[in-house]
């Protein structure tokens, strides 16, 4: 009788533990996103994401940064500071490691401990085991990783499609705004497409469902 009770409590404990882990997995908090970007792509703490455009990466960085989090950028010597500031990245809370060289992975891992979002441009192919080790660290610290370039087992892959610049002609005007489609691919599911202005005429991100006034070349 006593043994049966003991095994039952053990069983209940085991199930409780499993439930907790499951919940943990689903209840990972979302990072703050720019209002214009939130509809297209949202980042979860502990996830890794791959993107293919610097501007989109900066826009993703801007959300948590605006909300008061620290952000880090590894391996981007060509980080456009002014563009980042225009999108709302708070420079005082941004840590840059432009040339990490061979130690990019160690630097990224160290920065995962302190920043809510780490943007990294891996110098070459990233192995599955490397990504796995970093993923465990990300989950533990509740940080997200955005990779400018392929990343194995990324939670989502974000691509820019059909970019179209407005305000520029042939020898006239200037770049003012860009309309594009963001394709978010999660696993094997078909991609989700959202039309966006990135940057919009006021250097922000805006959904492109409604028309945005672009001043004609004057």
């Amino acid at each position: 009788m006593a043994t049966a009770l003991l095994t039952r409590t053990a069983e209940i404990d085991r199930l409780r533990e499993r439930m907790r882990r499951l919940e943990d997995c689903q209840a990972r908090p979302e990072l703050a996103a720019l209002p214009g970007l939130a509809r297209a792509v949202r980042l979860r703490a502990g996830g890794s994401y791959e993107v293919d455009g610097a501007c989109l990466a900066l826009a993703l960085l801007a959300g948590p940064s605006r909300a008061g989090a620290w952000c880090a950028v590894v391996g981007m010597p060509d980080f456009g500071v002014e563009a980042a500031a225009e999108l709302g990245v708070v420079l005082e809370r941004t840590i840059l490691v432009p040339e990490p060289g061979e130690s990019w992975l160690e630097a990224t891992a160290a920065l995962v401990d302190v920043a809510a979002l780490v943007l990294v441009r891996p110098p070459g192919r990233v192995s599955e085991s490397t990504a796995g080790r970093l993923a465990a660290r990300l989950r533990k610290r509740g940080a997200a990783l955005v990779s400018l370039g392929p990343w194995p087992r990324a939670e989502a892959s974000v691509r820019l499609a059909e970019p179209r610049w407005e305000g520029i002609g042939r020898g006239e005007g200037q770049l003012r705004a860009r309309r594009l489609t963001v394709e978010v691919r999660r696993g094997a599911a078909p991609p989700r497409r959202t039309d966006l202005w990135l940057p919009s005429p006021d250097s922000d991100v805006a959904p492109a469902g409604r028309p945005v006034a672009v001043r004609e070349v004057g």
């Binding site: 420079l91 302190v114 594009l180």
Partner: protein, 508 residues
Amino acid sequence: MRTLVVWCPDWPVVAALAERDLPGHLPAAVFAANLVQACNGAAREFGVRRGMRRRDAQARCAELLVLDQVPEREARAFERVLAALEELRPGVAPLRPGLAALRSPGRFYGGEPEAGAVIAECVVGLGIRDVRIGVADELFTAEQAARLAPLQETCVVPPGESGMFLRTLPVEVLDEADGSGTVSLLRRLGLTTLGDLAQLPTGSVGARFGSRAAWVHRVLHGGGARPLSTRTPPPELVGQVDFEPPLESAEAVCFSARRTAERFVAGLAERQLVCTELLVGVEADGALASERRWLHPRWFTAADVIDRLHWQLVGSLRVGDIRAAVTRVRFTPETVVPEADHADGLWGGTDARVERGIARVQGMLGHEAVVAPVLQGGRSPADRQAMVPWGERPAGLRPRELPWPGSIPPPAPARVFPAPWAAGVLDAAGRPVAVLDRGSMTGEPARFRPGAAEGWQPVAAWAGPWPVDERWWEGGRRLVRFQMVGVDGRAWLVTFDGSAWVTEAAYD
């Protein structure tokens, strides 16, 4: 109490030249906000003066070395002089970088001129040629005497003769950097020498010309001596540990250095000091193998000191700086501040956890590898940003408020290449496009290649040419900028610099 003043003229320039290992006879000037803050004798011979605009100064002396003002550097460089003076006589009062006062050693060296000679010799021994010394009853007179002394000489004002000495000096000696306008006011009132000022009634001087003039007025009448606020010489705070036998692994060194680190921090704490900048030196086989300077946004605890030592050892062992077993570790406090300055603010400062993580990366890659992005003014995207090593204060940033004609209108490019890419632009006939002097182009861009890694592609849209004259007064280049969009929808900032095309930035 007799006071001796040691004056190193043009200290900002001397310090800046010494830091760059440049000889002192070159004409040089230190600028802040585009105005000459200090210049050396060679520059003065060309007619360069304090307060002159940079362009005017360079017009008078084309080869003038332009140096940025870095107050920390000036103070740091003067620290060496103060330490040397303290060896001769304790109780040195630093007045500002380049100027220090001490109680006159008097008869110890056989008289004041002799004491001055000993001190001048000591300062010249540090490699500072231009030093002048003044001795008088009190500080103001001694400083004026030092300013009148010839190179490496001493000017002594005998006891009780301060008033006589000062009366002949022009009122310009009251000129302070604060721009209070006292001198100009005195001039306009027809008072040209301090003697004229001395004849005014005491009460009116204080009321009309401010406290400084009032103090000088008292000095002129034989009063106004103020005690020197001398500094306490920095105590021996260096922590050092020797290993016998020498240790091979970083862990063993850190373990053995733990006690020393605790004593080092405790030694500072006893004097109510904390260390914010630490120099860690590691000797291997009797020779200094690795030395690195660490900054801390708060202050170093014993654990922090050991952390830094560990990172430095691991980094140096990997690079190969340390080849033999470690025989000695030394902690030198480079900057110490009173503990009270660092009492935790009500809302806290930088997150300590963040700084710890950053310091770890600095330990791996070096201090300069982690940078903070900052914005500044400029014409090209690369000029409009700067990367400041984490923990350092940005210096010499260009103001953003100025209009900066020729800068590119927003949106700003998301990628700014530190070194521009070599680009190519062809017209419809396949000939390279060039921009002529007056801004006309040899053809309309039809195909372009932003960089060697990118392929050629047709131009979908382009804007420009936007000419920029960069530093034309220095024979700089005339640049013409274009924004180009390829058929793939990606946009680039492409520049023609008179002979070739380069890509400066991308709107990815």
